[in-house]
Symmetry: C2
Subunit: 369 residues, 2 copies
């Protein structure tokens, strides 16, 4: 019997996933090596060179095509300050990552939402939008999307990549969850399909620890050079010490086994949320994700996330406001994001059970089991 409040609000990693012993070993190695005082001195705004070189080699890129920053969100801010001019048109999926919407609004971009289907963006809507106006960029989370859990199919990726090349717009592919696939097999990334047109963001936050705060950007060297100059004028350089620790972690071969451990930890949690939603919210449509951090449901008609959140809090469940993920907030009134990685299977079961009771109380005829 679980008595505490169950928190479905934040997409954070499970604290028990942090590889603290290996990080301690790596920190000791960095700080023991006299030759690594570069980790402690001022450095380039591109980020710690040995880690850039490791990432570049793994991806078959040049070092100039890899930049590091204080988390990947910082790159979206930098892109809005350099590549993208105010009032330019940016396409996003609907729904999409709420913090990206906040930054696009801050910089007064013209945000156009492309509805997301269970296999990726609605291509008819995308084509029509391109014909109305070719955007400067399409911001897309192609794997295990935040907030829906949707993965864009290979066929849709190929079409999106082809259009980006044909019409000459950028793909800003946000891929922090890409390596966390719990079933099925990987689909080529947009960066694989249209490397000259894609700026791929990722991060070690979901793979090692958010506290290291190491975001990555891979793509066009000229765009990165512009960003690096702007970043130097903004914060001189990202924190080097933690990048040196991450570099050591990668070079010791710890990353792949860590990812396997994460998959083993999170896969049962994904199973648990699928089963729980089938059991306790049988009438609600959902997409079954193949990886990542997020599960999402559409609440029954007549039930809004505002109604749900108030009553759920009384029932011991915290939920996010679904409207935050929509450029037009009222479109998200029935949307509910359920991050599942930082909860145990038992907590997930109990949390969804409570949600089911709340939904039934609000709308008994729609949610009866």
């Amino acid at each position: 019997m679980i008595s505490q409040t169950i928190d479905f609000t934040r997409g954070v990693p499970a604290p028990e996933s942090f590889p603290t012993e290996q990080m301690a070993e790596c920190a000791a190695a960095v700080l023991a090596q006299g030759g690594q005082t570069e980790a402690l001195q001022y450095g380039k705004s591109y980020g710690f060179l040995p880690l850039r070189a490791w990432l570049a080699e793994r991806q078959g890129l040049s070092t100039e095509q890899v930049m590091l920053s204080n988390g990947s969100l910082q790159f979206i801010e930098l892109l809005c300050q350099t590549l993208i001019q105010p009032n330019e048109t940016i396409f996003v999926e609907q729904p999409t990552y709420d913090r990206t919407l906040t930054l696009l609004r801050r910089h007064r971009e013209n945000v156009v939402s492309i509805p997301l289907e269970s296999d990726g963006p609605d291509l008819d809507a995308l084509e029509a939008a391109i014909q109305r106006e070719v955007p400067k960029a399409f911001y897309i989370i192609s794997d295990f999307q935040n907030p829906t859990g949707v993965t864009t199919s290979q066929a849709k990726r190929e079409q999106i990549a082809a259009w980006a090349e044909q019409f000459g717009f950028w793909l800003i592919e946000d891929a922090p969850y890409r390596q966390l696939r719990y079933r099925g097999s990987a689909v080529p990334s947009l960066f694989d399909l249209a490397p000259a047109r894609t700026l791929q963001l990722s991060s070690f936050s979901k793979l090692i620890s958010p506290g290291t705060r190491v975001g990555t950007l891979m793509g066009d060297a000229a765009v990165l050079q512009q960003l690096a100059q702007f970043a130097e004028d903004t914060y001189i350089m990202p924190a080097q010490l933690n990048m040196a620790i991450v570099n050591e972690f990668c070079r010791r071969g710890y990353l792949e086994p860590q990812i396997e451990r994460l998959k083993a930890l999170y896969q049962p949690r994904l199973e648990a949320i699928c089963t729980a939603v089938q059991n306790y919210l049988p009438a609600t449509p959902y997409v079954e994700p193949d990886g990542g951090f997020f599960f999402s449901i559409t609440l029954p008609e007549g039930v809004t996330s505002t109604m749900l959140r108030a009553q759920a809090a009384d029932a011991g469940v915290r939920c996010s406001d679904g409207r935050g993920f929509f450029a037009n907030p009222q479109d998200g009134e029935r949307f509910l994001r359920l991050p599942f990685c930082a909860l145990t299977p038992a907590e997930i079961d109990e949390g969804v059970r409570r949600l089911g009771e709340v939904v039934q109380a609000i709308s008994p005829e729609l949610s009866r089991v």
Copy 2:
């Protein structure tokens, strides 16, 4: 005999000053403590709470009056994005820190330069400027200024603090060198004198290591709250792991002894540059700093830093372009900043000797020893 090029361009700490063993000990402690997984998880945009609490207690402030970020320059960007609106008037010292000028220009601020004298800003010029227009803020580096080395006298600080309170403008006091005083005794900071009107920036970059990238801002809780919200939307939070390491360093009592070691290391370097300038550049006016990283000279009339830099490079000395430190670049043509902390006394002597030869070659009648 020193054969390598001597670099007077960057104000970086001496690599031999980094307390790597103690940092290793602190990193191990952070990563050994299960209870410190907060250092590895997502956290607040204000920065790592235990370090904020330590700083607050040391200064007699509340925790809400202390914020941390990825270096202190990031705070200037955040201030330009929140507190200061585009086209507002900001006073700076002339000369001043070049990166601040870059950020003020980026945000289209109206920059008004107040000439700097050997004991601080020219108060007549400051008073006249206030009477023309009360600024939103006065950006001032009151201790061992970058780039001049000037320390503002207590009498001038008291007048500046009084005017800030009387006319209602902010003092943005940039104080990264304040604790590195090699002679004389400390003068109260502007934050000491006008706490309600001062936002004091500082950093652990010059005290522990730039690679930790921990900047601090102390001041008005309402201003900080606005910055913290904006920072959350920009980069979620600063890197926590390195803040946790710095926190451990401070709480183990390592900071004060480290500062004493820095003073012992840098004080002879300050003596060396004073002596070398007296020996090799006897005709050039200079201010003798009492601490910090920077010494500066005014080149003889007829010698510009552009002329000097080209010939100095051939003679094995690298110098910065003095014009970068002036809002009106041509006012800095004869200004030369000489950072002295990352060079040994012998390198300083040799570097200034070479500079003396170059100056004499350009302008023999002015610089004859």
